[in-house]
């Protein structure tokens, strides 16, 4: 039972308490690029969670069973990025055949997942916190859920911001940054939710 509590805590921590966008401020380029419309935001969040979980799993396995015994942990940044890039390219090819409509809608954003800071941060944190396999999966899922939450909140606000009476020089990205800061402030309300 304790195991499940720990997993649940990890998910809540990664998605709410230490939300990767609003607390860590990672993955911002994709966040601002995709959150303009709700449909791209939804597509991106699902793709991201899927890619995140698979890459966290593969990275963990490669690290634990190949890199540690061979003493080449110092290569972990390069290797993790390599795994992510390969996965994204693979999912690009697969999606083109399986779901072409989504593929055309996401367009360049699918390739941009590999430049997302979060996709490197999660495997690195898995290594640093010495999580077990299931725990890393839970952490990756939590990060994906948190990112999706951030995207959906931001997309719904930005769609309304298009029609609002924003001062001319604040229109678009500047306003989005200010709004993100406000949401980040709101998210600090989650601090201390999990006792260590």
């Amino acid at each position: 039972m304790n195991e499940f509590v720990k997993l649940f805590e990890l998910i809540i921590s990664a998605s709410l308490v230490n939300n990767f966008v609003f607390t860590w401020f990672l993955g911002l380029c994709i966040f601002f690029g995709v959150s303009k419309k709700m449909e791209t935001a939804l597509g991106m969040s699902v793709t991201f969670t899927a890619v995140m979980m698979i890459s966290a799993a593969i990275s963990w396995v490669v690290y634990k069973f190949i890199m540690v015994p061979l003493n080449i942990e110092f290569l972990m940044i390069i290797v993790f990025i390599g795994i992510v890039a390969g996965l994204v390219q693979g999912s690009d090819t697969i999606m083109r055949k399986v779901a072409p409509a989504l593929y055309y809608k996401l367009g360049i954003y699918l390739a941009l997942i590999s430049t997302n800071c979060i996709i490197l941060a999660v495997p690195l944190m898995n290594v640093g916190n010495k999580y077990t396999f299931i725990e890393s999966l839970a952490f990756a899922f939590g990060s994906g859920a948190g990112f999706s939450l951030a995207l959906i909140i931001m997309a719904s606000i930005r769609e309304k911001l298009e029609l609002a009476d924003v001062p001319k020089h604040f229109k678009g990205l500047p306003m989005a940054f200010i709004v993100t800061g406000m949401i980040a402030l709101a998210f600090t309300g989650f601090a201390g939710l999990i006792k260590h």
């Binding site: 308490v17 190949i66 890199m67 003493n71 290797v79 693979g90 697969i94 944190m125 640093g128 260590h196």
Partner: protein, 388 residues
Amino acid sequence: MYEVHKLVTDILGLFQFADISQFLLPKVGVGAEIEAKEAITMAPLIKYTLIFLAGMSTVFGFVLAFAAKKFAVKIDPRVEQVNDVLAHAHCGACGYAGCEQYAEAVVKDPNVSPSLCIPAGEKAALKVAEITGKKAEIKEKELARVMCQGGSDKSQKKYAYEGVLDCRAAVLAGGGDKSCIYGCLGYGTCESVCPFDAIKMGSDSLPIIDKDKCTACRKCEAACPKKVIEVLPASKAVLVACHSRDKGADVRKFCKVGCIACGMCVKVCPFDAPKVDKNLAKIDMDKCRVCGLCVTKCPTNAIEDFITDRPKATVLDNCIGCQICLKACPVDAITGENKKKHSVNQEKCIGCGICAIKCPVQAIDGTFNAEQIRIAKQKAKKEKEAAA
């Protein structure tokens, strides 16, 4: 003084209830739960590094190549060719979700017409027809027209609207803030949805449509909550720019340029094109010859002439002096004796083109329709000769 000091330390103390530093510092790298090694042997390290990196790259290469083969989408090269020709405005005028979907559909499905990409125009339709082996139907150019002239200076508002500055939002508040419920609200929804930048809101809160940029994709027509924008053939350039079904007296109260259904246009038209129905005049597109007479006679200027610069008529040398145009001219601008060449008074001529229509030998030139009429008559002559 001590109380203030205690208060400040208490408040600062509150921020320490959660040791956030342990959450903010990432635990990666040596010194954060990855132990440093005492001794490193270089040679095996380099060996393992090279083998591992080379191995991983090879594995990934094979996996990706396999995926590319297995999940390969067989694209007909013609789809790529068609895709290059299209306009890529993603406007949806063709009826498909995206430009790529239309390219696929037109190549695969024999029933899909090759001239559906309206923004790309005639040239693209012919090219697509060539690539797919279908016949292209050349559609007549259409334009979006705004059927309202009641700008902010000519119309009144019912109430002061404070809300989202979009027509679709304003219409939710009791049908919009304009007194005339059929009129354009002027908050620029059409401007924001046009993918070709062809609509700009004028200073009087009415949309101005650039006829060179407009491709009749119908996005503005669909977006307008008052249905004030209509997409009509570009040749139909004289239109009653009003949709008001209110009684004449009410229309006068709300708007200076609304149609009061007085029937003046019906009386004046030499081709019997306008009809008044339910307090609104409407011009029959099939009968209208775009002469512009009703425009001059309308008492409220509700009818708009979209030809901004009407060239005047001149008489050519093959005039036979039959005086038909003289009798037909609504402003008595033509003078001339029987069997002698007539002449057009350039000051009086309004460029309506009725003389060009009535002339039996096409001796009138210069009006907007003179070229068209000449070409049509030549075609008819050729067809008669071919049939005989």
